[in-house]
């Protein structure tokens, strides 16, 4: 197992060598094999996450999927992203999912086709296909085909004009260390999206807490709003039929 760790470490720690051609060849080969081993695994995990009927098994498949994605990041020399992917997604979020699954006892196999909205499956397929197309065209599109690599070596950038995608290379991008590179981008170019996202997350967390409180009376969702809550004893002593619950019971 340590041998495995060493091997993984050696792959991860691969630093670009001075000889550019040799470096490109060696990382390229490693990338190639890692990709073709991990990609089917990643897809298989994703598909079985949807197909498996036991929620805990499905959650575990999602964890496997997160792991393969982390490996992709690592192979692309984005070590920080790989570590954060494992810490945040596999380590924190999925453990919370499992925690909830266990706490609620939803660990029995769920029957399929229960409580399905009519036309949900075709709609899901259609929307999924649309999303895929949008991602493929919008995000991956510019990098497919001949444009998949940078087309302008540093000395020819001016000649290529607006179409230039200058070759910076991983060595230059990771020059001051992967973590520092990410941090610099995050706090300069992307500081606004970063802050907006964090505010969004805080709002979502507060919203989840407000909505998640199980209650029969909607006014409980807001803490009082200046209205003093009736003490428990007075509520219990009220004649039957006075609360919504009691009316329900009477019916």
């Amino acid at each position: 197992m340590v041998a495995l760790a060493t091997a993984v470490g050696a792959v991860l720690a691969q630093t670009p060598v001075a000889d550019p051609a040799g470096a490109a060849a060696s990382t390229g080969a490693a990338e190639f094999w890692v990709f073709w081993i991990l990609a089917p695994l990643s897809l298989a995990a994703a598909v079985s996450m949807v197909v498996l009927r036991n929620p805990v098994h499905a959650a575990l498949m999602l964890v496997v999927n997160f792991f393969t994605i982390a490996m992709f990041y690592a192979v692309l020399e984005a070590q920080f992203l790989a570590a954060v992917q494992i810490i945040v997604y596999a380590g924190a979020i999925m453990v919370l999912f499992l925690f909830v699954l266990m706490l609620l006892g939803v660990d029995r196999e769920l029957p399929t086709r229960v409580a399905q909205i009519r036309g949900q499956q075709p709609a899901a397929l259609l929307l999924g296909a649309l999303l895929f197309a949008a991602l493929a065209v919008g995000v991956a599109g510019p990098f497919l085909g001949a444009d998949s690599a940078c087309n302008a070596p540093p000395d020819a950038v001016a000649a290529a004009g607006a179409d230039a995608q200058p070759c910076v290379g991983l060595a230059a991008a990771n020059e001051e260390g992967n973590v520092r590179g990410v941090a610099r981008l995050l706090f300069t170019d992307y500081v606004w999206p970063f802050e907006v996202t964090s505010v969004l997350l805080v709002i979502a967390a507060i919203g989840a807490m407000v909505l998640g409180r199980r209650t029969e009376r909607p006014e409980d969702l807001v803490d009082g709003r200046g209205v003093r809550k009736e003490p428990l004893r007075a509520r219990a002593a009220r004649p039957t039929g006075s609360t919504a619950l009691d009316r329900e019971a009477a019916e």
């Binding site: 041998a3 720690a13 453990v95 266990m102 509520r235």
Partner: protein
């Protein structure tokens, strides 16, 4: 990279592996002996000198025992859980430098298996994966007590990971790097006089936070609620036997060693120490310093177990979320401020901005209780100035999940009267 380099890497990895495995065996023996001494017993004393070979005998017994799986267990997950625990425990120590750097021939050998750019984040990542071993073991056993243990451990480990991560972040900010080797190098030399420049002095609050969360993350007493022999019959590992139990057991003790090693690396200078004598002694001394420092922490871990009673679960959660997390946040802010102040050229501007920020925070801090008071109690109850007892059940004081769970129970009497 020729074959000699590969050989050196393998030798360093095997060295680390041997150090950790032998350390684990000795820790299990040492724990039993030390706890026995503290309880006026003798402890294992039959096999080998002072019972030193006891762990070996126990291991042999466990591996030849019949492997029983409950009929209710989820077969694959039940099999995978101990493996996850063991593998994670084994790969975590790859990033920890367990000795100095020395030269043989024209090659520099550094006694550290892997020194990545993300450094000690690897330890955090593996720690968060380690939760799976315990949670899945608890769930897949198909039995109540292990499930309770698994649920407890997942909540506990997530809660304390926050404080631990922030304590580590403070050290990262102070050092300016995530690499274990940089963190160790930053602690070389002396602070003033004969006092070494270990982070434990400037980063004392982070040290305390990290130590407490390390105890909670390794689920050692007094935070051993997931196993709680008295209440849960051993918790998540109740249904395990034979080799699988041995793996869980091994992983637990190995995690204790790894956590101690991380503590030593981050706060006590790792393998740093005074070097003297001929070259061969200089090469060996750092490893000896490292082992001695880790040994001290291992003793403290055992000491805690023999001394402290187990915490109540809500106290454990209160400590993690209400005490350690805010304190860790404050400390990270303070560290960041001091580092910026040290490196900036415009001190006055930074200090002015910080003063404004602190003033706004202070005003909000004193205003917030007034608002939540008015919301929950319009009449206002006397002149206690917004101060509230800690266990106030009024709404607004229930930001915590386990408190929120109490809410429906207040509605129950009405329900019963109605029905």
């Amino acid at each position: 990279m020729d074959w000699l380099d590969v050989l050196i890497i393998v030798a360093v990895a095997v060295g680390a592996f041997a150090l950790w495995l032998v350390g684990t065996a000795l820790l299990i023996w040492g724990e039993r002996r030390v706890v026995a001494k503290m309880q006026s017993r003798v402890g294992p004393n039959r096999l080998g000198p002072a019972g030193l070979m006891q762990t070996l005998a126990d291991g042999a017994k466990l591996f030849f025992k019949e492997d029983i799986a409950p009929a209710n267990a989820d077969r694959w997950v039940y099999l995978a859980a101990p493996m996850v625990s063991a593998v994670v425990a084994l790969v975590t120590f790859a990033v920890i430098p367990y000795g100095g750097t020395f030269t043989i021939g024209d090659r520099q050998i550094s006694l550290q298996v892997w020194d990545p750019d993300v450094g000690l984040l690897w330890v955090l990542a593996m720690g968060s994966i380690g939760v799976y071993g315990i949670v899945l073991a608890g769930w897949s056993s198909g039995s109540k007590y292990p499930l309770l243990g698994g649920v407890r451990s997942s909540a506990q480990m997530i809660s304390y990971e926050l404080a631990m991560g922030l304590a580590v972040a403070a050290v990262f900010i102070y050092t300016g790097s995530l690499r274990a080797s940089d963190i160790v190098a930053n602690q070389a030399g002396t602070l003033f006089g004969p006092i070494p420049a270990w982070h434990v002095i400037p980063m004392a609050p982070a040290f305390v936070l990290f130590f407490i969360s390390a105890v909670a993350e390794t689920q050692r007493p007094p935070f051993d609620l997931p196993e709680a022999e008295g209440e849960l019959v051993g918790g998540f590992n109740t249904e395990y036997s034979g080799a699988k139990f041995a793996m869980i057991f091994l992983a637990e003790f190995m995690n204790v060693i790894t956590m101690s090693a991380v503590l030593v690396t981050m706060f006590l200078g790792g393998p740093n120490g005074p070097l003297f004598g001929p070259d061969i002694v200089r090469a060996v001394l750092p490893t000896i310093y490292f082992v001695v420092k880790v040994g001290i922490f291992l003793f403290v871990f055992i000491w805690l177990r023999a001394t402290l009673p187990r915490l109540r679960y809500d106290r454990l959660m209160d400590l993690g979320w209400k005490v350690m997390l805010p304190f860790a946040l404050l400390w990270v802010m303070a560290t960041g401020f001091s580092v910026v102040l040290r490196e900036t050229t415009e001190r006055a501007t930074v200090i002015r901005a910080a003063a404004i920020g602190a003033a706004v925070a202070a005003v909000l801090f004193f205003l917030a209780p007034l608002f939540s008071r008015r919301a929950s109690e319009p009449g206002g109850g006397g002149g206690d100035g917004g101060a509230r007892p800690l266990d106030d059940p009024r709404p607004g004081g229930e930001a915590l999940p386990e408190r929120a769970g109490d809410r429906p129970s207040t509605d129950r009497p009405t329900e019963e009267v109605g029905v």
